[in-house]
Each structure stands twice: as C-alpha cells, then as structure tokens.
Symmetry: none
Subunit: 200 residues, 4 copies
DNA sequence: GATGAATGAGAATTCATTCAT
DNA sequence: GATGAATGAATTCTCATTCAT
C-alpha cells in the first residue's frame, strides 16, 4: 500500500512541465506565464510553491538528479579499475532516456546555468562523474577521454532527432534505428572511447 | 600602403564585441544596450548597421565562419580515406583558438539558435563537416564517432577553464598545461576517436 | 444597495480614458504611457487588462457600440419603407452625443483602423447601417444619399466646434446654438437628405 | 520646346510619392525611410529638399492645392446666387479625380493635421469654400447642407472602393459603375443637397 | 492552496532629425 | 545635390515578482 504524500500534486506537475518546457524551448525563452497556462493555474500559484524561477530549477534537480547522485555515490565506494570505469559508463547509459530532458536542459542553457546555483552544482556533479571515470592520476588527455565518453551518451539522442532537415547527400547511409538501438550504439562507442583512457 | 576602407569600422566592432559578449554571457543575457555601451555608441547606431539583433548573428557568422566553409569545401573535393579524415580533424583543430568563441556561442545557446536562421545554417554546416569526417556508407556508430571526434576539439578549451572552482579531491592530477598543449592533446584524442571509425 | 462588481473598475476606466484620448488626440498620437499616467497606474497595468494597444480598441467597441448593434438589429427586423428609413435616422441621431467620441475616433483615424480588426468590423457595421437606410434595390445615388444622411449627424457636432478660429468674413451669420439645437438641426437635414432617396 | 525648370526634379518626386503614401497608409504610418526607399534616395536627401516631415506636407499643399485656391478666388468674385452655388459645386467636382489623394489625406489624418500648420490652413480653405457655397446670412442648417454637399463629392470615390469586402445581403443592388459615372452621380447628389440650402 | 491586480525594470525596435563630407 | 553614420527620445511590449484577499 503505497502512501505517497498527497500534498502538492501541483508542485510535482510544475516541476514536470517546467523541465519539459525548459528543455524544449530553453530556460529564458520559457516564461512563468507559459508554465502556468499549461498547468491551468495562475502565475501566482507557482509562487506559492517556489520562491523564484530559479527555485523551480532547484526543484527539478532535486526531483530528477537522484539517479546521478546514486551513481556518483556508488563510484566513490569503488576502487578504480577498467571494469569499474566500464560499469560507470554502462550505468550512466542505463536510465538515459528518462534523464535526457534534464541533461539537455543543462547542456543547452549554459549561460543561464552559470548564474544559477543549481546549475553550478549540477556541473560539479558531472565533473565528479568524469573524474570517477578516468580515475586518479589522470593526464589531461584522460580527462578529455572520460568527458567525451560520457558526453557520447547524451549526444546520441540529439543526433537521432536533429539531422532529417539537413539536405542529405545521396551516398550517406540512413541509419536512425530505434531509440533503444541508438542508446546501445552510444554505449558501445562510449565504452570504446573510455577504453582509450590510460594510453600515452 | 594598404588603404583599408575607413567606412564601417563600427560595423566590424559591433560584430566583434557582440560575439565576445554573446559567447561569454549568452545571447539572451546580452542586451543591445550592453553592446552599445561597450562600443561607446547608442543602441540606434547598432540599428543603423544591423536590422535586428538576429541580424547581428548573421553578421558574426558571415565574418567568422569562412574558415569552416573553406574546410568543408576542401573536404568535398577529396575522396574519403582515413588520411583525408585525419587531415579534416587536424585542419579543424588548427584555427580552433580563434574560432572558439563562435563555437562556444553556438553550442551554449542552442534554444536561441533554433529560432535564428543563422543558427540553423550553422548547424547544417557542422553536420556537413561530421559527414565528411565519417565518409559515405556510415553506420550510426560511425556518425557518432565522427561527431564526438570534432566535438573533442571544442570541449578541450572549455575543460581547460572550467574546473578550478570544483573542489578537487587530492589525488586528481593537475594537468592544465598551456592553451597550445591543450589543443595538441585535444587533437590527439580527436584523432584517436576518429580512428575508431569503420569498426564493427 | 446595488453592489456593482468591484473587480475591474480599472478595466472600465482604461476603456473610458483611452476612448477620450484616442478621439481627441488620435490613436497613434496617444501613447500607452499617457493613458497610464492619466489613470495613475503603470503601463504594465494596461497589459494586465488588455493584450495589446489594439486590444484596447476592441474593448472600446465592445463597451460602446452596443446601441449601434441594437439599431442594426432593429432595422433588420423591419420591412423597408420611407417611415422605417426616417426612424432609423432619428434613432441614429438620438444617442449621438454619447457616441460622438466613438464615431469621431473611427472617422479621424482611418489609416490606423484599416490595420485593426476592430476597425474593420466597425466599418462593416456602418456600411450595414447605410444599407438599411437606403433599402434594397438601391442605385449608387441612393447609397450615397443614405451615407451622407447618416454622416450629417456626426458632422454636425464637429462643425459646431471647429469654426471659431477661422477668420470670419463679417456677413456670415453666427449660428452655433446649443448642442441640442445643433443635433436637432442635424437630424432635420439628415431627414431631408434621406428623403431624397428613391429619386431618379 | 518646353523649358520646365530643371532644378529639383527630385523635389517634385518627393512630393508625389509622399502624397501617395500619406494618403494610402496615413501620415504617421509612413516613415521618411519608406519615402526615401521608394525614390531610391537616402533619408538625408529628403532633408536637403525639406526642413522637416511637416514641411513635406507644406510642399504637397503648395503643389496640389492651387485649383482649390482658384476656385475660392473665383467664388469671392461672384455675388452669391443659386446659380453661383451650383457652379461652385460643379467646379469642385470637376477635377476631383486628381485631387482625391489630397482630400483623402486630409480627411483621414485629422489628428495629425491639427498639429500641422499646413493642415490647419487647408481646413480653413475648406471652410471658406463651404461658406461660399451657402452664401451670407446662413443658418446652421445651411452651413451643414453646404458642408455635406461638398463632402458628397469626396465620399463618392471612397464609397466606390470600400464595400466589396463587406458581406452583401443578396437583395442589395450592385451598382459601382465606372469612376466617371460615380463622379457624375456624386455631382448630381451634391447639387440636390446644395439645392436644399435656404429652406426653413 | 490558490487568485486577481498590479508593479518596476528592462527589452527590442522605430523614427525624425543632424551633420561632416 | 546628395550620402553615411549616428543620435535622442520615444514606443510597444514582456517578464519575474509581490501582496492583499
């Protein structure tokens, strides 16, 4: 018998709708009026649940970033090894579909994120994750390899949707595949790149 | 000896300052007032040279994207081979220092770029470049590898500047190096990733 | 005793003040700042009640044009006859004093009205009224007579106020009379002109 | 061999284009940039020929209002009689096709005209013309009749073009006729209305 | 747990006008 | 007889935010 707290269904809906709009249209291009309209409430209602627009971002992170924190916590418990590295990449790829909006939001709204404490904290998380992937004593090359490895996972999903409108030269292979196949491919490439870590 | 045309020194300065501010603070967070103030002119002067804020972005691309167009043109003249691929990556890395603000601007302001014709055109250019790198008949993996390869070049410069403020666990190697060394390292890793193209 | 709804007293005041200023100074020569200042509110308050400046015109029509719509409705219920025609003219003249600002606004701001949907709709109303006055099977002459007949009513009020500053040749009779006398005279002439309808 | 003064062909073109645009789009909705663009010159060129935007209106009147001044002068030379009255109306109707843009401009841009000296002067001319039509010792009714008589002439041309887009009830007679027929009809009605002058 | 009404600050944009060349 | 470059003042409109109810 699940006793999920009944209080603030609205709060959760604000978080969900905001993340959706922020990630689709951008943080600055999404007004509180737009969020309120989508929810069928007034702007003032948003202010009952959140102190500021920035605070909604806090809410988004608090609600959505748990899996990443768990991944980081797990990583900190391990002693680095190539196997741990690969497992980090795999786990990062695992829930990517659900986390995609969050990652997209942060990646595509960097200027705003630099001004938001939630943004800076999220960046710190990602840097931590990168460090866990390359392990201690890493060279600049290795940090770059680790970063690109994780980055590959996000990028795959965007790559999937963004090409159709660019005129395609005939010889280019059409390869979209399904969302799942794309993620599998992304994980594959990410592991390849991760595998380069430690090279001279 | 060279009598460079005196007219529209201002126009060039608008482009330069705008690119700088757009890339540092973001497109939406940079007002025309700010640009005008930096130049010591009025907002109306900007409108003498550019029809809209969006038009300034056009001006930026027209002024700054020539090297990328040349690279694409060069690529189209070649028949794809691993050597051509590597040469594309190397040439892309070559002038990266000067082009960094432009690339940063486009990468970090995606939501705005989707609404700007100059933004969409620039994205098309990048996708073209990726296609030249992976060559014809590419699988989704290969497209991803090509994209990440080029992406590595940009990312290196940001990675260089963005870590200092994240509390560093002692064991992590400090490795920034100079700007030139960072680019050399980025090119190295980019070629590695490019070298993965064609694998099963 | 009557508890008139307290909400949106401001909205009504915006409509009233806007109509007054639009009709006195013209639509384009009246800024929202001016309207706001007169009301002792901020410009943003106007935007709380109306989406755009154009929308205020909508509000004006919705609030003020009811009597004209009723007159049109009444006209549609009648079968045309000289008596109906005269009654239409009389009823049009009846409330003219209150409707004068509205009619003046539309007559003196044609260029703006062509761009405003409320403007085009209002013009359609007036054309309908003209048609009711001349009845079916009308010649071009009759349409002109009907239009001038109604037009006489508006014009009278303007004529009343606009001559004093033009240097008067001594022999011209001074005849303003009171506002009510002017309207009576206008109705008289309007009926005369209406009476010409049907002539060869 | 016509020796039309060669100086300032441009000046004449500015006047012509300005009148066209002012009368079609309105005085305030027509910017100097628009006028300059149509002429293929710069805004600054307009300022070579005219001191201000208002001064262009002066130029328009000076160039176009001569026939009206001649009509007024002629009227002043006559002793009023019903025949003179009718002849004034006929002469006013005579060149109406060419003067239509000027009259439309003044009629549809009243708010701007009140602020322009050329506007006030033109209004004075029209009032003079009205006085000549009703003659001395006129009652308010007569002034109204005279005004509406002349007004009929202008109105006819607008009526001709402005109805097509208003949904027409089937029974209404379609009657446009040609431009010339419309003017003839207008003159006819104007004389009718003028004929009412002097009635009790 | 909300709403209605409002604000203050600021944004992009437009316009008539000026002046050195 | 013009132009190129610029300005100052204004305009419409948007947005995050506040607060009494």
């Amino acid at each position: 018998m699940a006793t999920h707290s009944p209080r603030s269904d609205t709060r959760a809906r604000i978080v969900a709708v905001s993340l959706e709009l922020f990630s689709e249209q951008g943080y600055e291009r999404t007004s509180l009026r737009e969020i309120a309209d989508r929810l069928g409430v007034t702007k003032a209602a948003l202010y009952y649940h959140f102190k500021t627009k920035e605070d909604i971002v806090h809410g988004i992170v608090a609600t959505t970033a748990a899996p990443i924190d768990e991944l980081i916590a797990w990583g900190h418990e391990q002693t680095w090894s190539p196997e741990v590295r690969d497992e980090l990449i795999r786990r990062f790829a695992a829930g990517i579909s659900e986390r995609a909006p969050l990652l997209r939001f942060f990646q595509e709204n960097q200027p705003a994120m630099r001004d938001l404490s939630a943004g800076r904290e999220f960046r710190a998380r990602m840097i931590n994750l990168v460090r866990l992937v390359h392990g201690p004593e890493a060279s600049f090359e290795d940090r770059l390899r680790a970063a690109m490895s994780l980055f590959t996972i996000n990028s795959a999903l965007f790559l999937l949707h963004q090409e159709p409108d660019v005129p395609r030269v005939s010889e280019v292979a059409v390869a979209p595949a399904t969302r799942e196949e794309a993620i599998a491919a992304a994980q594959h490439v990410a592991l390849e790149i991760g595998g380069l870590i430690g090279r001279p």
